[in-house]
């Protein structure tokens, strides 16, 4: 019985958690944190169970409320959605489980608010990945977005302006998406993805179709922070409070990226329109421009924010190239980047608990922290693309894809991105790593709260683990997903 409910389970668990947290908080704030972590972990387990269920190419469909598709809302668990939801749920679980110290520091006294909102965000993101209906994606998109606007704006004063900008641009993006869905609905009369995919060939010549595709792609591109529509991201991720920064940058743009992949490549498939070409080139530009901007930053968080723009560029680049290798690389990078970015923001957040400020200079003046430094180095190696860290393998598949597609400029962009990443990651880790202490010095006080250290270790091990087992992931999940695009 449970197996049939796997598609909806992750969403329900986080939603239940979000509702329970404020109630439990009336009794005890600590307990609320535990409930939140528990809900996130349960959702992650459910998501992994979903992966196990569909690995190899299975599909599980779930009609919400018993209303059958295509009129009812459908949730779909297939290799790609299972993979993405597991990635998001997993990283969110680690992040929320270790958010305690940071949340107490940043949200003094109102930590349940953080936990509840964070769980709502994760609910929204998981809903996006598991949804089989276009309008449902919009709903969950906005659920996640509204909660994340609030989370981002919970920081210090600069976060308010950043949050407002995020709100406006995010709403524009979601509205464009909605408009696109509207156009497609007017054209085909259905919102269900599978049904729409069947009806598209008949209408694909219509200018309404082109309009619908354009609005959907632009809307989602804003949500993904694809260059040049990335304006909201740097400020939002820089000024968000640290526990929020450990979660949002890692997962918030991944679900819209999934939505972009799903709608563009599996539902709409606009072969006559140059959409994928534009995306590939925009992705390439994002990689390079994001990297160049990241180089010039002195604030550690802003550096990581621009790095996110660059890394999301890789994913969109892979989606744009749309051949089997490139898609494998893009999907794998969804997982890799979520893990890397969470690890890095978490580390910077942990350092900021003791540092005088978020700048690279301030971080460098801290006492040596070898464990945090080591975890940051692992994440940096993944970012640059040094085996056996996971990031290398997604770059490999992307490169293969770019070469197969005969795009030397994009190959160069991917390689240049690696090089830029090497430079700015070096600048970030140099301060922490180079001062790693002598054994002779007196026993250090703890580098960071134990949960945070544990989480960093888990993420570092995950990075290496993904790298070493990437072949299994690719074969069982990503290759079937890429093959289903049938280009």
């Amino acid at each position: 019985m449970t197996r049939a409910h796997l598609p909806i389970l992750p969403v329900l668990l986080t939603l239940a958690g979000a509702l329970l947290v404020p109630i439990v908080a009336l009794a005890s704030r600590r307990a609320a944190g535990v409930v939140a972590a528990g809900a996130a972990i349960a959702a992650a387990i459910a998501a992994l169970a979903g992966v196990a269920q569909v690995a190899g190419g299975g599909v599980l469909r779930y009609a919400v409320g018993g209303w059958a598709a295509p009129w009812g809302i459908e949730l779909v668990l297939d290799p790609l959605s299972a993979f993405t939801s597991a990635a998001i749920a997993g990283v969110a679980a680690v992040s929320l489980a270790s958010a305690g110290p940071g949340a107490r520091a940043a949200f003094e006294g109102t930590t349940p608010r953080f936990y509840a909102l964070a769980l709502v965000v994760v609910t929204g993101l998981l809903g996006i990945t598991l949804s089989g209906d276009l309008f449902n994606v919009f709903v969950f998109l906005e659920i996640a977005a509204i909660a994340s606007y609030a989370l981002v704006a919970s920081g210090a004063a600069p976060a308010l302006a950043a949050g407002f900008r995020y709100l406006v641009l995010g709403t524009v993006g979601a509205s464009f998406y909605l408009l696109g869905v509207g156009l497609l609905y007017a054209l085909t009369g259905t919102l269900n993805m599978a049904d729409l995919a069947a009806r598209v060939p008949a209408v694909s010549a219509s200018p309404l179709f082109a309009g619908g595709v354009a609005f959907i792609v632009v809307g989602l591109a804003i949500k993904v922070a694809l260059f040049p529509l990335h304006g909201w991201l740097p400020d939002a991720y820089t000024h968000a409070p640290p526990p929020v920064a450990a979660l949002l940058p890692a997962v918030a743009t991944k679900a819209p990226a999934y939505a972009l992949a799903r709608t563009l490549l599996y539902v709409l498939r606009p072969d006559e329109l140059p959409v994928t070409t534009v995306l590939a080139w925009a992705g390439g530009a994002a990689v390079v421009v994001g990297g160049l901007f990241a180089l010039r930053q002195t604030d550690a968080r802003r550096l990581l924010a621009y790095s996110s723009v660059s890394q999301m560029g890789y994913i969109v680049l892979g989606l744009g190239l749309a051949n089997s290798s490139a898609l494998t690389g893009a999907y794998l990078h969804i997982l890799n980047h979520a893990v890397m970015k969470s690890s890095l923001f978490m580390a910077v957040g942990a350092l900021m608990l003791s540092a005088r400020g978020p700048s690279l200079g301030a971080l460098a003046q801290l006492a040596p922290r070898p464990l945090i430094g080591a975890c940051m180095v692992v994440a940096a190696l993944s970012m640059v693309g040094v085996p056996p860290a996971g990031g290398f393998f997604s770059k490999w598949y992307l490169l293969q894809g770019a070469i197969e597609a005969g795009q030397p400029v994009l190959v160069a962009a991917i390689l240049l991105g690696s090089l830029l990443a090497a430079v700015y990651m070096y600048r970030l880790t140099e301060a922490v790593w180079l001062t790693a202490g002598d054994e002779g010095s007196p026993p250090r006080q703890r580098e960071a709260p134990p949960v945070v250290l544990a989480a960093l270790l888990v993420l570092a091990l995950a990075t290496l683990g993904i790298g070493l087992t990437n072949e299994v992931i690719v074969e069982r999940l990503l290759a079937p997903a890429a093959a289903a695009v049938a280009r």
Binding site: F164, V168, V172, L179, R356
Partner: protein
């Protein structure tokens, strides 16, 4: 010339323009609301029919041709809720922004944020 749709497009453009051109954040918000409303209008227009009847039907098989399409209305109820929630959060943000910076003009706030964000290395 389908005038209702043209009106929808005009509202859309108006909303977008307001969001971009206005410096006052509250006015930007108003523009955003107009923008979202235009999209809602567009959806509703797709459900309308000339001489269409309200889609209240007796149970049993029914020929849907004379009735207006109720689905977009249902969808737009959700969209309106989303719009209201977003507007609520935005207004709350604006209240806090005004309390923090004493102004809702975009450029003034930007200046005050920049002044407040001291060089990162300065002692706090």
């Amino acid at each position: 010339m389908n005038w209702p749709y043209v009106a929808g497009v005009l509202l859309l453009m108006l909303g977008l323009y307001t969001m971009i051109a206005q410096r006052n954040l509250l006015k930007k918000l108003v523009g955003m609301t107009i923008f979202q409303t235009a999209i809602i209008l567009f959806f509703l227009l797709t459900s309308a029919k000339r001489d269409g009847r309200l889609p209240i039907v007796p149970p049993g098989p029914v020929d849907p041709t004379p009735y207006m399409n109720p689905l977009p209305h249902a969808l737009m109820l959700t969209a309106i809720v989303v719009m209201v929630a977003t507007t609520g959060v935005a207004l709350a943000l604006l209240i806090r922004l005004y309390a923090a910076y004493g102004s809702l003009e975009e450029n003034v706030i930007a200046e005050r944020v920049a002044a407040e964000t001291l060089p990162p290395d300065a002692p706090r």
